[in-house]
């Protein structure tokens, strides 16, 4: 007997979005569900199938989830509207939350955003109060000059190739002195933009807003970003902002951005599941206690596991 049930869903405007809802196979359902989505251009299963594994591990702990392809990614069709990618991502996640609300009776959510998903997740959290938790995995980061210099130097020192050390040190100096390095650092990919919602100011304002609203936030960085973290180095100038006091910050050098090894994946799963359980249950109570304490989702709200369900754009 599996610890989970899964239902493929087709939803959103014109049924253009594709996702999978995972619910616990047995026992009570937590009153908060989890949203998983694309990392870069990888379809909804996530890097190394991480979203699938995470969804099933969460279901075994009583947490339902939806993993979804945003418009134009994976199996979802491009949006018919002309919104920019970030705005469309917010609309798509809201459609997913509407669907879960309709199908499971769950109306509060945590979002696990990997890489580009972290940037999208931040915009969703700002726009929609149904989000009560946001985990950003290798998302926005703002290392200062000292941290950038140190991480580059560490890599230069670790390079075994002859002459590599001097070449890399020269590169470090060149980049450190370059005016371009005054820009916030980050993982540059095709989903990065230079729009207003990618600025350091937007990040800081948004994070403070979420802190005021009591949204649980975690910034989770891996050994792909840097080798050592001294004092929340990747927060850079924002370490003394009000949100930083509530923020959970985790640097896990044993994990890599692409979750390439099984050990990396397992460490990631444990950390994320534990965080989600803490956010959902607060005091570490079990899903059963949480449901008894006021959650209104239960087995009766479960969907059929045999048929894909087409829904028109569900309204909240």
């Amino acid at each position: 007997m599996d610890d989970y049930n899964e239902t493929p869903v087709q939803f959103g405007p014109d049924g253009s979005l594709i996702g999978i809802i995972t619910t616990p196979g047995d026992g009570p359902m937590a009153p908060v569900a989890c949203i998983l989505m694309n990392m870069g251009a990888i379809h909804r299963i996530g890097p190394r199938r991480a979203n699938v594994k995470l969804a099933r591990q969460m279901a075994a702990r009583g947490i339902s989830s939806i993993r979804v392809d945003l418009a134009g990614l994976g199996d979802s069709r491009p949006a018919s509207e002309t919104a920019d990618f970030r705005t469309q991502a917010v609309l798509d996640v809201q459609a997913a939350m509407n669907l879960v609300g309709t199908m499971l009776g769950v109306h509060r959510f945590v979002l696990i955003g990997l890489c580009s998903g972290a940037h999208n997740g931040l915009s969703v959290a700002v726009a929609d109060p149904r989000l009560v938790g946001l985990l950003m995995f290798d998302g926005p980061n703002f290392p200062g000059r000292r941290a950038r210099w140190e991480r580059s130097l560490r890599r230069a020192l670790a390079d075994p190739r002859p002459g590599a050390f001097f070449g890399r040190v020269l590169g470090v100096l060149r980049r450190t002195l370059s005016p371009q390095q005054q820009q916030p650092a980050g993982n540059q990919n095709i989903f990065d933009s230079t729009g207003p919602r990618d600025s350091a100011e937007y990040f800081c304002r948004s994070m403070n807003l979420l802190a005021e609203r009591g949204v649980a936030t975690m910034m989770f960085f891996t050994g792909s970003v840097q080798a050592k973290d001294r004092r929340r180095d990747l927060l850079g100038p924002f370490g003394k902002e009000p949100f930083a006091r509530q923020l959970e910050y985790r640097f896990a050098p044993e994990i890599d951005h692409g979750l390439t090894s099984q050990a990396s994946q397992q460490a990631f799963m444990n950390l994320v599941c534990d965080w989600a359980l803490r956010v959902i249950h607060g005091d570490g109570s079990t899903p059963a206690q949480a449901v008894a304490a006021g959650g209104h989702a239960g087995r009766g709200a479960r969907p059929s596991t045999t048929l894909a369900i087409k829904l028109e754009h569900a309204s909240s």
Partner: protein
Amino acid sequence: MTPMLFGPPQRRLFGLFHPPERERDIAVLICAPFGQEMVRTHRLFRVLSDRLARAGVAVLRFDCHGTGDSSGDDTDGDLDGWRRDVCTAHEELHRLSAPRRIVWLGSRLGATLAVLAARSGRSDPSKVILWDPIVDGARYLDAMREKHVSALEASYWIPDRAWRRRLADDKDAYTDELLGFAVSPTLRNQLRALTPQSLQLTASHETVVLADPEDEDANRWARMQAERQIPVRLSPFQHSLVWTSDPFPNSAMVPAEALQRLVAEING
């Protein structure tokens, strides 16, 4: 496009059916590669399926047990089970599209599974297209574990030199987790037992092998099958798709030449 689950309750398979937009007599079953190569080709096969459906071809894409969105853990996957999954998917596509004739398109390990499934006699594809098939499992394992270490080195800010030393010193190193996808001892043994001699086509359908002229294993294997009087056509095909890369910039996700060639072979 319709997402669905099909197959027996203990082995539910996730599939996406692309209904044809006009009448023709052909349907296509796509057998995807394994692991990171499956992730890498997802977009290509989605675009290919859309294009075929517009041209009147019914298409079913699916994930084998323990892969993608289908049930099961990584380690539940094995060649015998996956071969049966191909046959189950064939039956599902037949149910959805009969009386159309069904063409199989398999790539990499998916092509190998197509050969094994066709040989089982449970299904009756009218044509099988094999794109860069894996015909030597031991070599495939070796190549994948080398790529696994390369991926680790590219991913960490400071790579660990011990990874490459272990790769050189231990022939089993990393064969239990190829590019992040766990491999059971059963699957590993099945892959090691897979040789060009053990993988044999049947004469019950036409076969096309699309292979890079530099892929000596696949070319030699196809010629060997032809010598057995099997109806097989070897067709040289070079493309820019990097099977194991992440879908990032400077690495085409849907190479035009691959798309055009596959459409032509299916329609041909």
